[in-house]
Subunit: 400 residues, 4 copies
């Protein structure tokens, strides 16, 4: 068990995922919900000395000026996704949370995300280094006020436009210099938060397709500072199914000719992904695993479209056309109707809990054993969900 | 590589699965088809000294009096499932096969299967022991005429009515005595073929839900005689998907409330399963794995209905209702449109090839490493397809 | 406009459909909801002098001893089907309703429905004629206490076991005699309520597949008494779609080979339909229209299965296999995810409103113009929904 | 009955639709197929003096240099859509057809269609008027060689890029002048074929979304010349279903919030529609009917994507999200798996047969009674398929 309090710091603290994770943590502390959806609550992970839900406390950055409860309540009014009675019972704690949410940075988040920001966020005119230092100050205040032994920064903010990795220097020393020359620094906000966290020795988890800590130079920073990070892009729905189903086609030698996946949903994430620049990062992340699993590249199509009436309910239709014995084509289709934030939130809490345990175990660098949680796991080529999960089990077995 | 010829003996030699496997073997020998659908052709199994397709020759038992080519041709005319050009190119070899097909036994196959039988099968009035000896004589003739080093008997006949295992004696010595007292012997044809094969030291594979070699006493016979067997009920479609998808729900702690599966198809198998006695064996086999994988028992419903127009195309609609985080219900549905015989046939050929390799490796008793091929693998409690497949890979690795 | 108050008398007043219709009527009176789902609110029916929602007041019979609000609340807790805020705002009116609900009769309802009944209903040991007279007394009390100009009795109670029509006498005079000889009277409760209503000159609508007023002798009673009735079995979901889609296949000469429909749901209706005796009436009603529309009879399969987790959400998967040009088979599938009571309730209110208008117009006998609302419309052979709807439009046009 | 031979002239004579219609006509003449898919073969149209299939003879224009049989054969090899035995029996007649196919024009067809053309089509460098005259010469040769009483020109060529109607003059006299000044003439090939046909007094049917005869000036030409035309864009699959299902939502007052339709297929039409310019015409045509039927405009999304493995099999997934009673959202989804050319071809033959009958009846101008066959019927605002079909029935009733 954790001896002391651990901070959770959400980047995008009032978005759908953070709101839902926050409601979830409050509800878990109050004993209002079961363990459904929480991987870390599976029997096989119960004897590895995991922190209790009560050990965690929440803070975060947000660019919009809205109330935590109001945002959570939209999960009921717009999506009929959370029982309003549960939300009402968590209202008091949600309201208290608002004072721990600081104003986030808009550096390189792109115009679509900028449009969502409130006046406070827009007021900041800062260089990358100034943004990093401001974030660090917020984190340090949080840690000292709450008497925290450690902080885990989790990016659950809107998807930023894709940033090319190639032009970035591989070494931290080089990247650091770039940061100090603002005009030459293409790093988006997600990476600045990562750097702030890692420079303080805190852990960083990127649950989104944004760049975050994916640059090798930032990984070097993590290792230098003896801290840890992982990402990216939480594997919650359609892609989870791909990573479960594609291995079946591969192992049965059923040749996939084409795999089409259409996703529709209507929450704020959908609004941001309506911008082609932001969508690109997401689609790439959803599409790349098939080739690795199958060993060849079928024709694929992934679309994500904003349909407002769907709210947080993401519906995916996937159509798999494959060749069977004697060359006969066959078809497999699935329809997934899941609530996006409710699928993501428990995984975010799981990642925090596993990361906290890794911190206590003294693990540094990339936390590859968490790969089953991500669409594009950093440093891991394996995309078969079953095998990825065995990596988590093996890690847990090593802790017993 | 196999030094000498190996016999394949199909029980139900002109049924859809055997016909398709036979066409497939001919087409493989002629180089007319690719490896699609064949597990044993995956790169990972290429360096374990597997027999070549040319090493195999086919014979079998059948209760109907029909031509091999005509039955295969129905896969085109009734189901549009096999390219007629391919069938035409295999006609000569199919015609030659007819003379190696002997008349099967109708002992305890139930009235629905009896109705399918031709006059020759109906003429036999025999005791269980007489049936076994007749089968053995047919197998020995086949082996000597074809100069075979070994024979693998594969049951792909229609599903027999369920037989209770409990009343059967556990020891072979006891069961053997029962066989000699015909009025007390409840063993169905599938078990008599198994006994005939095993008494001759041949291998036996049960691809159907019929009893076959599932009785402990028959397993004892196999071990006594130093031979091998495995079963039962080939995992080809909807159940394969359950064994792939249920582990995902389990590992993500998504609580399955109900899992409904409706199957429709129209081939001869469907006709036999239209008899509730025969259907029971099948439904039980399709339904039992969920509890093992999930660790709890959700409400389940499995239906198999005969819809004549579907022919060999089995369409399954599965509806999974599960509870996610904060107690919110979500839904996953899939539609599988596969051609039943074309899914089964390559697995039958794979099982034969792996069994032949196990024979050369001197393995005896239950071939548990083949569990990924079966809905109800004998002697194996594991139903997670990914883990089952790793057992096959581990066996192959041990042969290198 | 109606000059005076009209009574709605629900048989099965606290079941899902009646509860939802009651909540709906309250919400309409309070202006809390839009017209979604209400046919009578379409622009084309606005100038025919329809009664206002405020003109109606509710009473009814029920065999269970439960509170109206509690039953309505289950639509939220068990099915997440009605916004709890809406239910809460209707609570006061629902509570007041309880005193207008009388104890129903259990005569010939079958054992499954009997099991649902409370002690009060079980206490009644009455002959058919006594039951009719008790119902009439309840209706008269309701009419006089509420000062009603007319009462419309609507059967929304659980489906009774099927009763054969053939043995019933065709003339009311004969049937009346049978009723007075209880041992010879096979009439179920639904018919006794119908007779009670019609003998009083009230209108009767049967929204269920139960016998109700379907017997020719009861129709004669209605005509003799100058009143009106219609039924039966509300067309809310899967069958509605059949009556919309089958005409397309017919008009395009696409030959339907098979039409398979699987329905799953989990409300109290599902519990009653779990009894094969009760289910038969329903399945027959869902299945018969295809032949009439297509002009030939394809293979059909209709299943209704109780899956508890689904609550009031009825999900139907329909698979239509049809032959196109040059004999090529093609497939159409649909998945309908509708909330059963919410689909039924507005139609019940529409039927009441249209029936009230017909009463004022002096129409008697079968109200055939309502056929688009029913799976098995009495006295109407037409099942094409589009043409049925034109009959409603023509009736309305005649009133202008 | 027709006294004399009638010519069918296909623009795009070796494309999938024309090839399939041609095979169909040959097979009908030979009595090889049933009437499945043919509207004109419905009993209700049998006593209106329709021409026999034997009365028709085929010719056409094509820009590719391929053999008629080879193109038809692809329906088997690439799509498994037509029984090869049937194709083989039609081979002799298909081969004879090749000499009646002339080289088409590439004027304003756009670069994607130009890329498909063979050298002969590319060689023509002609003005619009020259193209019209060349087409007329081909038609006259066909008519005189075959001794035809009338010719019906049917456009089944690839979809051209959209052309704005607004800038075109409304009067034929003005448009005619434009045609003679080639630089100012935006008319695409489909319109030039229409003008050629109409100037000769022949009938013209546009089965595609291309401009064809949609310009008012061309309609004036048809009326001036006493001939007839209709279009456009055959209603074969997903849009047919929309025109059948949307009226149900409208009549039941179920408020459609969003209607999403994703289409995948892989034939040559798909290749052409892969060009956004060409796709636009199609998507617009598929999308516009919902607003007319519903009376309001829900959010809609229509995608058509080329997935090569699908060949001629067009699969559409439609997701309809609608509001029911008390504001509760519900969902309807369908999956349509139809063979594009096999759905279109019989309608093309039906249109020809009905148009021939209208010619004999002396009808001129727009043949509005054919509206049920088109996604965007010229001159008809009604999109409810049931009501459209009644217009066809009323026309037929008038001929009796």
């Amino acid at each position: 068990m954790a001896r002391s309090k651990i901070g959770i710091w959400f980047v995008g603290a009032k978005g759908g995922v953070a709101s839902t994770a926050t409601v979830g943590l409050i509800a878990l502390k109050k004993g209002l919900i079961t363990s459904a959806g929480l991987v870390s609550e599976l029997p096989r992970f119960q004897d590895i000395g995991m922190a209790a839900w009560n050990d965690f406390t929440i803070g975060g950055h947000e660019i919009r000026e809205v109330g935590s409860f109001d945002e959570a309540w939209r999960m009921h009014t717009e999506s009929r996704a959370i029982d309003p009675a549960l939300l009402t019972r968590c209202k008091g704690d949600l309201d208290k949370l608002d004072k721990h949410i600081k104003t986030g940075t808009l550096l390189n988040v792109g115009s679509t995300i900028e449009c969502l920001a409130g006046p406070a966020a827009r007021r900041h005119s800062e260089s990358p280094r100034e943004a990093i230092e401001r974030v660090k100050a917020d984190l340090k205040t949080f840690a000292s006020e709450q008497q925290l032994a450690h902080v885990i920064v989790v990016n659950v903010a809107s998807t930023e436009p894709a940033v090319a990795l190639a032009p970035l220097p591989d070494r931290w020393a080089e990247l650091k210099k770039q940061i100090d020359k603002p005009r030459r620094c293409p790093l988006p906000a997600s990476s600045l938060y990562a750097i702030a966290a890692l420079e303080l020795g805190y852990s960083y988890i990127n649950f989104t397709p944004s760049l975050g800590s994916a640059a090798p130079a930032i990984d070097e920073l993590a290792r230098e500072r003896g801290t840890r990070h992982m990402g990216h892009d939480g594997k919650t729905g359609e892609t989870l199914l791909k990573s479960v189903l594609a291995p079946m086609f591969a192992k049965r030698n059923l040749q996939v000719m084409s795999w089409v996946g259409h996703n529709i949903f209507g929450n704020m994430d959908a609004k941001v992904l309506d911008d082609p620049a932001n969508k690109q990062a997401k689609v790439t992340s959803k599409d790349r695993l098939l080739g690795q699993i199958l060993g060849y590249t079928p024709q694929t199509l992934v679309s994500i479209e904003r349909i407002e009436s769907m709210g947080d309910w993401k519906t995916a239709w996937d159509h798999v056309h494959f060749t069977g014995f004697l060359g006969t084509p066959m078809t497999f289709q699935f329809i997934w109707q899941g609530c996006d934030s409710l699928l993501a939130a428990p995984l975010v809490l799981d990642l925090i809990r596993f990361t906290e345990r890794a911190w206590r175990a003294g693990e540094t660098g990339l936390l590859k054993f968490l790969c089953s949680f991500f669409k594009s796991p950093l440093g891991v080529a394996e995309h078969d969900f079953g095998i990825q999960f065995q990596m988590l089990e093996a890690w847990a077995a090593g802790l017993k």
